[in-house]
Amino acid sequence: MGGKRKGIEVSLAIAEAVGQANADVIAAYPITPQTHIVEHLSELVANGELDAEFVPVESEHSAMSVCCGSAAVGARTFTSTSSQGLALMSEIFFIASSMRLPMVMALANRSLSGPLSIWNDHTDTMMVRDAGWIHVFVENGQDAYDHIFWAFRVGEDPDVLLPVAVNFDGFILTHMIEPIEYEKDETIKRYLPEFRLKNALHPDKPVSMGCFGMPEIYTEAQMSREDGVTGSYPTIIKAWEEWGELTGRQYHPIETYRADDAEYCIVTMGSYGETAMEVVDTLREEGEKVGVVKIRLWRPFPFDEFRGAVLGKKALIVIDRAISFGGPGGPVASELRSALYKKEGSPVIVNYVAGLAGRDVSRNDFRNIILEGKAKAESGDTEGFILYGLRG
C-alpha cells in the first residue's frame, strides 16, 4: 500500500498516470489549460517511457475521431481537452458513448466563449452533461491521479464499455504543484486489467459499427444507452472499493463533511470542496450547524446517496459554476431540486452561481455565501439563482 510521494504539477501527474496505465493511443490537440498533460505524454512517448502512439491531430474534432477509431480496434485510448476543444469535439463526443467505445478524457474545466476566456468554471462540461459519458469530478491532485486508473478500469469493464470524463478544475488543479502519492506499477497492474474489447474491429471477425438507426430502432438504442450509463453504477462502486483496499484512499459518489448533524449544507463539485470544508470548520467554531456535501459522481447521478445525505436538512446552498440562460438556475441546482421534488424531509435549495471564468471565490466569499444563503432559506427567498459577486 502506498508508493512514493512526489511534489509535482497535477497535469504532469495525470500524464504519468496515463503512462502507468500503459495507454496505447493518445490523440489530442493543444488547448489551455490542458496542454501540460499532452505535452508531458508526448515527452513520455518520445523518451520511450510509454509505448504508445501519440497522434498529434489537427483539431479536437479529429482528436475525438481518432479516439473512436483507436478504441474500436481495442486499444487503450486517452485524450484531454478543455472548453472550445470540447465544444468542437462535442459532435463526436455523443457518438463515442452511443457506440460504447471506452476511452478516458481528462477534462480540464474551462469557461466557454464568449467572451473568450481561458479560466476555470464548469460551463464546458455542463454542455455535454447529457452525452451518455460517465462523469466524475475530482477535488485535488491526488484525486485526479487516482481517478485516471479508476476511469480506465470502469470504462473498459465489459459490463460497462463507456467513455469516462475525469473533470478537474482548470488552473486551480492543472497548474498546481501538489504532493501526490504515486502507486507502484505492480499495484496498478493488479488494479487495472488489460483492455479486451470483445467485438473489436479486426478482419478475423468482421463487425459493422455505427450503423444508422431508423425510427423503429432509435428509441430502443437510446434506452440501451440509458441502461448502460445507469447500469455502470455497481462497477463504479466496486472500482472505488478496490482502489480503497489497495491504496487506503476511499472515494464515494457523494461525500460529506461535518454534514451528519448539520442543518445547512453547502453543495460543491470539484476543487471548491476543499475551501468549503475549511470555511465550514470556522463556522462550526462560531456555532453554525453547517456541513459540506460534495458531488463526486455526476453521471450516473447517485440519487439514493444524495437523498440519503441531505433529506432532513433545512436547506442546501448549491454552488453552480455555469448558468442556464433563461432557465431555472444553475444546472446542478436544478437537477438537485428535481431529485428532491416531493421527497419527505427535502431541504429547500438556494442557488448561487459563482466563480465564472476563474473569478476568485475566496474563503470569505464562501462564508458570505453560506451565511447569506442560510438567511435566504430562513426567509423563504429561494427562487431562481444569485450570480455571486456581480459588479455594478
Partner: protein, 308 residues
Amino acid sequence: MDRFSVFAPRLVEKAENFTSGHRACQGCAEALAVRLVMKALGRDTIVAMATGCMEIVSSPLPTTAWMVPWIHVAFENASAVVSGCEAGMKALMRKGKVPEKKITFVAMGGDGATADIGMGQISGVMERGHDMIYICYDNEAYMNTGIQRSSSTPYGASTTTSPAGKYSIGQHTQKKNLPQIAVAHNIPYVATACPSFPFDLMQKVKKASSIQGPAYIHILSVCPTGWRIPIDESIRYGRLAVDTGVFPLYEVVDGSYKMTYKPYRLRPVNDYLKGQGRFRHLTDKETGVIQDRVTKEYEGLLKRCEGR
C-alpha cells in the same frame, strides 16, 4: 502489376466483400465502385466510412452489406477515424496484444465528405503519414440529402442549391481539384479512377494498398438520380467523362504523373454534357467555355505526364 489488366478477369476475387441487398438506387455507379474497390482490397481490410449515400444504403440497423470490419462515426471524420484504427492496431501489434497481420486501412467518403466538410481532417491524416487509403466517391453533389451543390460540383451543373435560372447558369464555380490537393501533400500515391474502367480501378486500389503511407484515390461515380440520366446509362457516362477528357484517368507515384488510360482522340465535351439533365440548360456558348477549359486542363496534365 503493370499488365494486371491482361490477367485481371481471371484474378479478380470472386468473393463479394460489399454484398448485394444494399439499398442503393438503380444504376448507382458508386455502389459498383465500392464493390470493385472491396474486391481489390480483399478481406484483410478495415473500412471507415463517412455519412452519405453509401453509408445509408449499406448499414440500416440491424443489417449490413459489409463483409469486412466497418465503422461509421460521422460525416466529416472517416479519415481521422481510420487513422485512429491504424494507430491503435500499430500499438497493439507492437506491444504483442494483437498478432501481427497486414491490414489495409481505408477511409471512404463522398465528394461532400471529402471536398467540403472533411477537407481539414483528410489533410491532417495525409500530413501525419498514416498508412491508409482515402477513397473519394465523387458523384459531384450532395446526393444523399437531395442533390445539393458541393465544391466538387462541376461548372454549369444545375443542383437543388445551384439551380439554373434566369440569372444563374447553375453551379457558377469550378470543380475543386481534389487529386491535386492530395498531390500537394507529397504523399506516395494519388490516382483517379472510374468504375467504367474496372480493371484500371482495381489495379490502382491494389497499388495503393501495397504502398506504405497515405494514398488517395478519387473515383468518379456516376449518379443517374442526381445527373438526371437513364439508370442504364451510368457506365456509358463514366466512359464519356474519361473519353472527353473531363475526367482523365491518371496516377501520381511519388510525384511522377502517368496517364493510365489515354483516349486515341478526345471526344467533344458536348457528347458528355448533352444527355444529362443537370446540364440541359447550357447554351452552345457555355459548353464552348467548358470545352476550352477541359482542353486546357487536359493538355496541362499531359505535360505533367511527359515530365515537361
